[in-house]
C-alpha cells in the first residue's frame, strides 16, 4: 500500500515536471522543472532498489548535467521563446506520429497488464555488486566510455573556445 502511494507520489511529481517543461516559455523554468523530474526519478529508482543508480542520478544528472544547462542558459542570456512558425511537418506529422506511438504502446500495456508486481526494493543494486559487474563483465564498455568522455571533453573545449582566446593563451605563455 505504502509502496503504491510512494510510487504515485513520485510519479506525479515526474509527470508534473515534464509537463511543466513543455508549458514554460522561459528555458530556465524548463531547466528547473527538469531538475524536479530527475529528483523524482531518483526516488523511483530507490523504490526499485537501485541505490547506486539513484545516487548517480542525483549526483551526475541533477547535480552536474542540469547545472551545466543552467550555466549555459545564463551565459547565453536566453530569453523567452519567440513564436516562429517554423515547420508544418513537425506539427502535422510528428505530433500525430508520436501520439500514435504512445497510443499503441499504451494499448499494448493495457492488453498485457497481467504483469507481476514488483516488490519494494526488488533488486538491491548496491555499489559493491555493480562495481563488480562493471569491472568484470562490462570492463570493455567501461573503458570505451571513459575514452568517450575524454573525447567529449576535448571536443567541448575545442568547440566552445573563442578564436581570440587561443592567441591570448599563447601570449600569456
Amino acid at each position: 500500500m505504502l509502496h503504491l502511494l510512494l510510487f504515485l507520489l513520485f510519479g506525479l511529481a515526474c509527470v508534473a515536471g515534464a509537463v511543466n517543461l513543455l508549458v514554460q516559455r522561459h528555458p530556465i523554468n524548463s531547466a528547473l522543472s527538469l531538475v524536479v523530474v530527475m529528483g523524482s526519478l531518483a526516488g523511483e529508482y530507490l523504490l526499485l532498489g537501485a541505490e547506486f543508480v539513484a545516487a548517480i542520478q542525483v549526483i551526475v544528472y541533477a547535480g552536474a548535467i542540469m547545472v551545466l544547462f543552467v550555466f549555459v542558459i545564463m551565459l547565453l542570456n536566453a530569453g523567452e521563446e519567440e513564436r516562429t512558425s517554423g515547420s508544418r511537418v513537425a506539427l502535422l506529422l510528428g505530433v500525430p506520429g508520436m501520439l500514435i506511438g504512445a497510443v499503441l504502446v499504451a494499448w499494448l500495456l493495457v492488453e498485457r497488464s497481467a504483469t507481476p508486481a514488483v516488490a519494494v526494493g526488488a533488486l538491491p543494486g548496491d555499489p559493491q555488486t555493480i562495481g563488480w559487474l562493471l569491472f568484470h563483465n562490462y570492463l570493455l564498455p567501461f573503458e570505451v566510455t571513459s575514452i568517450l568522455v575524454l573525447i567529449a571533453i576535448l571536443g567541448a573545449v575545442a568547440l566552445a573556445s573563442q578564436p581570440g582566446m587561443e592567441a591570448s593563451a599563447k601570449k600569456e605563455g
Partner: protein, 663 residues
C-alpha cells in the same frame, strides 16, 4: 579421278590483291599498286586457262572447301563447281577483266584514289568469280550481292560528286529489289527441296514433270529468279540504274556494266535452266520481257546525245536479246551472245573512254566530230566494235545475234513475234551505233576545244592536258587492250563454225528428265539445227536490216545533217518523250520514291522518332526531375521538420513491431 584443281584459288587471288591494295595501297607508289592489281587479275586468268586444259571426267568438277551451314538436314558448303558453262564465264570474266585492268592503268593514272580503284576492281573480280564458280545458290548469292557492292563502290568512285553518289545508291537499291525476289526464290527452294546445291537440287527437280497447267511451285520460283535477274541484268522494270551508272569511270562501265556483272542474271537463268524448262509460263515471261526491253531500250538509244548513255541503253537492249534467248530455251545462243557482247561492248566502252580522254572529258556527241584522222587507233578499234554490234558479217555480233533471232523464231518456245521485234531492234541498234560512229568520227569537229588549251569537264573522267593541248590518241597501255578486244570482236564469232561452241555447251543443258521439248522433239531444248532454207532466209533479212540501219545513219548524219532536226520537230511530242526516256524515272520518283521519303520523314521521323520515342525519353526525364523537385522540399534545413519525420518514422516502426508481436 579428276585431280584437285584448286578452283578456290581463282577467286581468292584477286581478293588478296584487293586486300593488299585496300589496306596498304595508300602508301604504295602507283607502279606498285597497279603491279599488285594486274598480277592478281593475270594470275586468275592464267589459272583459268590452265583449268580449261585439264580433263574433266564426268563433264563437271566439284570441290568443297569447307562446311558452312549444317542445320538439321539442310547443308550448304563453300563449294566450287566447274562445267563448260562456268568455264566459259570464267574465261570471259578473267580475260576481259585482265584487259580492262591494263586499260585502267592508263586511264586512271592521273586520278586521285588510284589504289582504291584497283582494290575495288580486284574485289569485283573476286565476287564475280565466286558467283560464276559457285556450286550452290547460296555461294552464288554471296557473289551476287558482292558484285552489287563492288558496283556501288565503283559507280560512286568520285563520291564527292553528288550525281555519282546518287547513282551508286540507285544502282544498289534497284539491285536490292531484285535480290529480294531472289532470296524468296531461295527460301522456296529450301522449303520444298531442302537443298541449294546445284547437283542435288537439279536432280530432284529434274524428276518433276513440267507445269503446263498454269502456275505452280516451279513457276513461282522461276518467276522470282527472273525478277532477281531483272535487277542485276537491267531489264524492265529494274533497268533504271544502268544509265545513271555511267557516272562511274569508263573502265568500270566497260567491265561491270557491259561485260560481266550485268551478265550475271543471264548466267543465273542459264544455270537454273532445269527449273525454267519445267515452267514454260515463266520462260515465256522471260522471253517477252527480254524482247520488250530490247525494243524499248534501243528506241531510247536513238535519241541520246551522251556517248556513254547511248552505249548504256545499247547494253540494256543487248541484254534483252540474251533474256529472249534464255526465255526461248536457246541457252547456248544466249551465252554465245553474252560472250561476243563482252568483247564488242567492252571494246566500245573502252574506245569511248579513249575518245573522252582525247577530248579532255567531253561526253556530248554534239561537240565531237571529225576525229577520224586525229585519233586513228581509237577510230579503227571502235569501227570494229560498231560493225560487230550491228551484226555485219563476218564479225562476231552477226553470228550471235543471228543465232538468237533464228532460235526466237524456230524454237518450240519461240514465236515470230519475238523474231519481228528482235529484227526491228536490230535495225535500231545498227542505226544508233552508226549514228554514234558518224557523229563522233566524221564530219567537222564541232567542239569548242581549241588546239592550244583545254578545259576538262569536271569529274567526268577526263583530265587536263596541261602543256600539250592538242587532241591526241591514247597511250599504248590503253590502246593495246582495245586492239585485242577488236580482234576478238572480229574473230569471236567463228567459234560457232560447225556448231563447235554449241556442242561444247550442250552437255550442260541436256536434260535427263522430262521436259516439254524432250517430249515434243529429240532430246535437245533447242530448235533442230537445220541448215535449211528458213535459217538462211532469216539471216539474209537480218543482214539487210543492219545494212538499212547503216544507210539511214549515213543519210541522216553524214549526207544531210540538217534532216534529224527537221524530223525531230515534226514529231515533237514523241521525240521529247523518247528523249526523256519515256519519263520512267519521273514515274518511279512519283510512285515509289516520293511516298517512301515522305512517309519516312512525316511518319517515321516526325511521328514516331520525334513525337513518341524522343518525347517519351524526354518525358521520363522530366518526370524524374519533377519528382525530385517535389522530394527536395524534405531537406528544408529546418531541424524541427526533420524531427517531425523522425517521430513519424519511429511511430511506424513501433506499429510494425506491435503488429509482429501480436501475430
Amino acid at each position: 579421278m579428276t585431280p584437285n584443281l584448286h578452283l578456290w584459288l581463282i577467286p581468292v587471288l584477286p581478293l588478296v590483291g584487293a586486300a593488299i591494295n585496300g589496306l596498304c595501297g595508300k602508301r604504295f607508289t602507283r607502279t606498285l599498286v597497279c603491279s599488285v592489281g594486274l598480277t592478281a587479275s593475270a594470275a586468275a586468268f592464267v589459272l583459268g586457262l590452265w583449268v580449261a586444259t585439264q580433263p574433266m571426267v564426268s563433264g563437271f568438277y566439284r570441290e568443297s572447301l569447307a562446311a558452312w551451314i549444317r542445320a538439321g538436314d539442310f547443308r550448304v558448303d563453300f563449294g566450287f563447281y566447274l562445267d563448260p558453262l562456268s568455264l566459259v564465264m570464267l574465261l570471259i570474266v578473267t580475260g576481259v577483266g585482265f584487259l580492262i585492268h591494263i586499260y585502267s592503268v592508263g586511264y586512271m593514272w592521273e586520278e586521285g584514289g588510284f589504289y582504291r580503284f584497283f582494290s575495288y576492281l580486284n574485289l569485283f573480280l573476286f565476287f564475280m568469280l565466286t558467283l560464276v564458280l559457285a556450286s550452290n545458290y547460296l555461294v552464288m548469292f554471296i557473289g551476287w550481292e558482292g558484285v552489287g557492292l563492288a558496283s556501288y563502290l565503283l559507280i560512286g568512285f568520285w563520291f564527292t560528286r553528288d550525281q555519282a553518289a546518287s547513282a551508286g545508291k540507285k544502282a544498289f537499291i534497284a539491285n536490292r529489289v531484285g535480290d529480294f525476289a531472289f532470296l524468296i526464290a531461295l527460301f522456296l527452294l529450301i522449303k520444298h527441296f531442302g537443298s541449294l546445291d546445284f547437283a542435288s537440287l537439279f536432280s530432284s527437280i529434274g524428276a518433276l514433270r513440267p507445269e503446263t497447267q498454269g502456275a505452280g511451285l516451279l513457276t513461282s520460283i522461276a518467276l522470282l529468279l527472273m525478277v532477281g535477274a531483272c535487277g542485276k541484268s537491267a531489264q524492265i522494270p529494274l533497268y533504271v540504274w544502268l544509265p545513271d551508272a555511267m557516272e562511274g569511270p569508263t573502265p568500270v562501265s566497260a567491265l561491270i556494266h557491259a561485260a560481266t556483272m550485268v551478265t550475271a542474271g543471264i548466267y543465273m537463268i542459264a544455270r537454273s535452266h532445269v527449273i525454267f524448262d519445267r515452267a514454260p509460263t515463266a520462260g515465256t515471261m522471260v522471253a517477252i520481257l527480254g524482247t520488250l526491253t530490247a525494243f524499248f531500250a534501243a528506241s531510247i538509244g536513238i535519241t541520246q546525245t551522251d556517248i556513254k548513255k547511248v552505249l548504256a541503253y545499247s547494253t540494256i537492249s543487248q541484254l534483252g536479246y540474251m533474256f529472249l534467248a534464255c526465255g526461248a530455251a536457246a541457252y547456248t545462243a544466249g551465252i554465245f551472245h553474252l560472250m561476243t557482247h563482252a568483247f564488242f561492248k567492252g571494246l566500245l566502252f573502252l574506245a569511248a573512254g579513249s575518245v573522252m580522254h582525247a577530248l579532255g572529258g567531253e561526253q556530248d556527241m554534239r561537240n565531237m566530230g571529225g576525229l577520224r584522222k586525229k585519233i586513228p587507233g581509237t577510230f579503227w578499234t571502235m569501227t570494229a566494235g560498231t560493225f560487230a554490234i550491228s551484226g555485219i558479217p563476218p564479225l562476231a555480233g552477226f553470228f550471235s545475234k543471228d543465232e538468237i533471232l533464228w532460235q526466237a523464231y524456230a524454237s518450240p518456245r519461240g514465236s515470230w513475234v519475238y523474231w519481228l521485234l528482235g529484227l526491228i531492234t536490230a535495225f535500231m541498234t545498227s542505226f544508233y551505233m552508226f549514228r554514234l560512229w558518224f557523229l563522233t568520227f566524221f564530219g567537222e569537229y564541232r567542239g569548242d576545244r581549241p588546239e592550244a588549251h583545254a578545259q576538262p569537264a569536271p569529274g567526268s573522267g577526263g583530265h587536263a592536258h596541261d602543256g600539250h593541248g592538242h587532241i591526241h590518241d591514247s597511250p599504248k597501255v590503253m590502246l593495246i587492250p582495245m586492239m585485242i578486244l577488236a580482234v576478238l570482236s572480229v574473230v569471236g564469232g567463228w567459234v560457232s563454225y560447225h556448231h563447235t561452241f554449241e556442242n561444247f555447251l550442250a552437255p550442260v543443258f541436256r536434260d535427263a528428265g522430262p521436259t516439254l521439248a524432250a517430249e515434243a522433239h529429240p532430246p535437245s531444248g533447242e530448235a533442230p539445227a537445220e541448215e535449211g532454207g528458213g535459217e538462211t532466209l532469216l539471216m539474209v533479212i537480218s543482214v539487210a536490216a543492219a545494212a538499212a540501219g547503216f544507210y539511214l545513219a549515213w543519210l541522216l548524219y553524214q549526207r544531210r545533217p540538217e534532216l534529224p532536226k527537221q524530223i525531230a520537230r515534226r514529231i515533237e511530242g514523241l521525240y521529247q518523250t523518247v528523249l526523256h526516256k519515256y519519263y520512267v524515272d519521273e514515274l518511279y520518283a512519283t510512285l515509289f520514291v516520293k511516298p517512301l521519303v515522305d512517309g519516312s520523314t512525316k511518319l517515321l521521323w516526325h511521328g514516331i522518332d520525334q513525337n513518341v520515342i524522343d518525347a517519351g525519353v524526354d518525358a521520363s526525364a522530366d518526370r524524374a526531375r519533377q519528382l525530385s523537385d517535389t522530394m527536395r522540399h524534405m531537406q528544408s534545413g529546418n531541424v524541427r521538420s526533420y524531427a517531425g519525420w523522425v517521430a513519424f518514422g519511429a511511430a511506424g516502426v513501433i506499429a510494425y513491431m506491435v503488429w509482429i508481436g501480436i501475430k
